[in-house]
């Protein structure tokens, strides 16, 4: 199994940390992982993306031109990465702020209203975990218990009290994801 993912959105949405949690989860189940950020002069409000690869084998290139899955969280990223999904691949996106919805018929498309759900849960910071939940419902490449282990490993101890909230956010994402197109 090799899953090549791009997560793209605004800086400050938790794009990079979502990728990091996914990578940690892969490590927790003995897989190979790579995490390659766009590290340009990005800042809060600018665009940010990260390529995450989780595989049973040694990972070749950490930099890719096409992906099994694109997780897209703003319009600029939709414009850039919709076409980069492999035929038969998966696109997960939050329709919040999207003006041109994805149109490809040869990929599986799912939407998750993560910004809305996170705000309903009273904490917009868990937005990225709602998205992660949606993705893992569609592509269960890592087990939820390993995500929780990964969170424990990647978060400083003073934030461990927030793990339960993160778990709820993942569950929320899993419940709220909607299928838009089946390839």
């Amino acid at each position: 199994m090799t899953e090549e993912i791009i997560i793209a959105g605004f800086g400050g949405q938790g794009v990079l940390s979502m990728g990091k949690i996914l990578a940690y989860s892969g490590i927790m189940q003995d897989q190979e992982v790579s995490w390659m950020p766009s590290y340009g002069p990005e800042m809060r409000g600018g665009t940010a993306n990260v390529t995450v690869i989780v595989s049973d084998e040694r990972i070749s290139s950490p930099v890719l031109n096409e992906f099994d899955t694109a997780i897209i969280l703003n319009q600029q990223s939709m414009d850039k990465f919709e076409s980069a999904v492999k035929k038969g691949g998966t696109l997960v996106y939050d329709p919040n702020g999207i003006t041109h919805h994805p149109e490809r018929k040869d990929i599986n498309i799912y939407s998750i209203e993560a910004a809305k759900k996170a705000s309903e849960m009273g904490n917009t910071k868990i937005f990225n975990m709602v998205v992660l939940g949606a993705y893992l419902k569609v592509k269960p490449i890592v087990k939820i218990e390993n995500v929780i282990l990964g969170l424990k490993k990647s978060l400083p101890a003073r934030y461990h009290s927030l793990i339960a909230l993160n778990k709820d956010a993942i569950t929320m994402g899993m419940d709220a994801v909607k299928e838009i197109n089946k390839a």
């Binding site: 990091k20 490590i27 340009g40 950490p62």
Partner: protein
Amino acid sequence: MAKELKLMKGNEAIAEAAIRAGSDAYFGYPITPQSEVIEYLMAEKPHERTGMVVLQAESELAAINMVYGAAGTGKKVWTSSSSPGISLKQEGISYIAGSELPCVIVNVVRGGPGLGTIQPSQADYFQATKGGGHGDYHLLVLAPASVQEMADFIGDAFDLAFKYRGPVMILSDGVIGQMMEKVYLKEQVPRLSDDEIAEKYPWATIGKPASRERNIITSLDLDSSKMELHNIHLQSKYRQMEEEEVRFEKINCDDADYLFVAYGSSARICQKSIQLAAEKGIKVGLLRPITLFPFPKKQISEMADKVKGILSVEMSAGQMIEDVKLAVNGRVKVEHFGRYGGIIPTPAEVVDALIEKIIGE
């Protein structure tokens, strides 16, 4: 004891591995894309763990001259920077090479020339492998292609620096520095005590005992006949490196019709290109130089007899290709493919270049 597993950036891995390799001091000045090296060291406070000194100098010039001074005392010292900062350090590096002092210099390369860009590049190959500063000297150059190798090579680099009494460079780039991967960390190697240094490194300037003459560390000798002998001695070390230290990795080379030569992050990209080419029925292998000086000339020469053409893939306008061509000596077609100025080539672009430039119609 099991080795410790972590998820780290290349820049963090090299910093942690340097502490564990028993290094005595780091002197540096931050610059993207390698600022995490000094950030990690400052946060980790290695002085409390091993007594290692970490100092942010006022400039790259100060940092390299602190390395020069500390290396003279037989300590394991290192510095890191990125391209423009490494250019600033070249005077000091030439002096260190001339004075025959061991140290490690890490270059996490970004696009140039000038201040250039903060994105990854491999355009410092000439500077790293052909000298860099003035005078006839070489650095031994190691090129990591993964976070694991960032961690592993710092210890190797110190060993080689002391074996040859000269500066060793780890030539990385923004991809390897910024990406996170799994890394297995080695256990702590104790720092040498002052007595151990005095015994192992009789050249070190650590105070003159009555039993020996004064140790003098200098790169200056106004007597040209002595300076020529010194140069001949330096050259003999470089020839010994060419005999003993060449490192490389071959992937998929056994029945390859074509060959990629690529190092560092380009070698990672080429591994994906090998898979994409195979889907098109093209058999291509990869020879990855791990030491860029000494360069794996013999191994490339051998491959030249087995393949129909070679593509040198570099994030530069074509620098390593000159060494590949010297090794091949005209026997098969050698072409270059690269992107510059901070653009990373995609695996598909590399395959297209192979088809267009080497395989032809």
